[in-house]
Symmetry: C2
Subunit: 140 residues, 2 copies
DNA sequence: TATTGTTATACTCTATAACTATA
DNA sequence: TATAGTTATAGAGTATAACAATA
């Protein structure tokens, strides 16, 4: 059906543009805090608790070897620490230091604030629909 | 108001997660085509016509000096070309070669297909609401 | 003087392949 | 043998500062 096809690509296009807009916004909020967007993402993922290298690499969608050097750099700045895992001597767990935790929360709050500003003009009903729709997309 | 605050951060959180999901999807569709996500973005931006370095750097949100090396690499692969701008001898215009145009369209179509699959289960009314809401966010 | 684009330099991000240590 | 994480290496993305050519 022609109408449906047009509407699908409109939505896809809007989602792609939104992705780029949010990437920029994410970079703009990370930079003044002295972080790359990737570093900010890593720190924010650790807010809910320490993670092993393999699990963290899966969440961030990067290779473990790439993660090693990222963690090296953050550890040098005392933002994260490698902690031994008593249950498995091969493994370690990456956790936020107090300074890292503070910075992670600053990042998180700054991004949420910026996005809240962007979406503030939407009617409550639209925000609810949007949230529900996005969540359903994410669970696929 | 507590309820509004909670709803705002839910939406912000859903948008951030969607951004990351779409970034992964974008990387996954670019890679088999032999492109990084940034290269794919650059090629797709040029689909609508040639652009100067300054304008292109603004659209991609990167410094002109960073763009120079990206264009160098794509030019070496004959995907883009630097064309002289007769109106201004300092400037050049970056345009897609036939191979670049082909690849750009492949990228674009692949991403739209993947996203259409993700959003295919949403009711038509929700898709419309979503599209309208995202467009209104983007114009801010 | 201002603008367009490039060069030089230094980091960061990323993947692949090979490796060590432990399970 | 399989898994957790690292090392070595190479290439790509990015910013800052300084520059050449043209407007």
């Amino acid at each position: 059906m022609v109408t449906t096809t047009a509407r699908d690509s409109d939505l896809a296009s809007a989602l792609v543009q939104t992705m780029h807009r949010l990437q920029d916004l994410h970079a703009e909020t990370s930079r003044p805090l002295g972080l790359t967007p990737q570093q900010a993402h890593l720190l924010c993922v650790l807010i809910t608790g320490p993670l092993g290298m393999t699990e963290l690499s899966r969440i961030l969608s990067i290779e473990r070897s790439s993660l090693t050097s990222m963690v090296d750099r953050l550890e040098r700045r005392d933002l994260v620490a490698r902690v031994a895992n008593p249950a498995d001597r091969r493994a370690c767990r990456i956790e936020l230091t107090p300074a890292g935790k503070d910075l992670a929360h600053q990042c998180h709050d700054a991004v949420v604030d910026r996005i809240a500003t962007l979406t503030g003009d939407l009617p409550a009903a639209t925000r609810t629909t949007l949230t529900t729709a996005l969540k359903s997309i994410l669970t696929q």
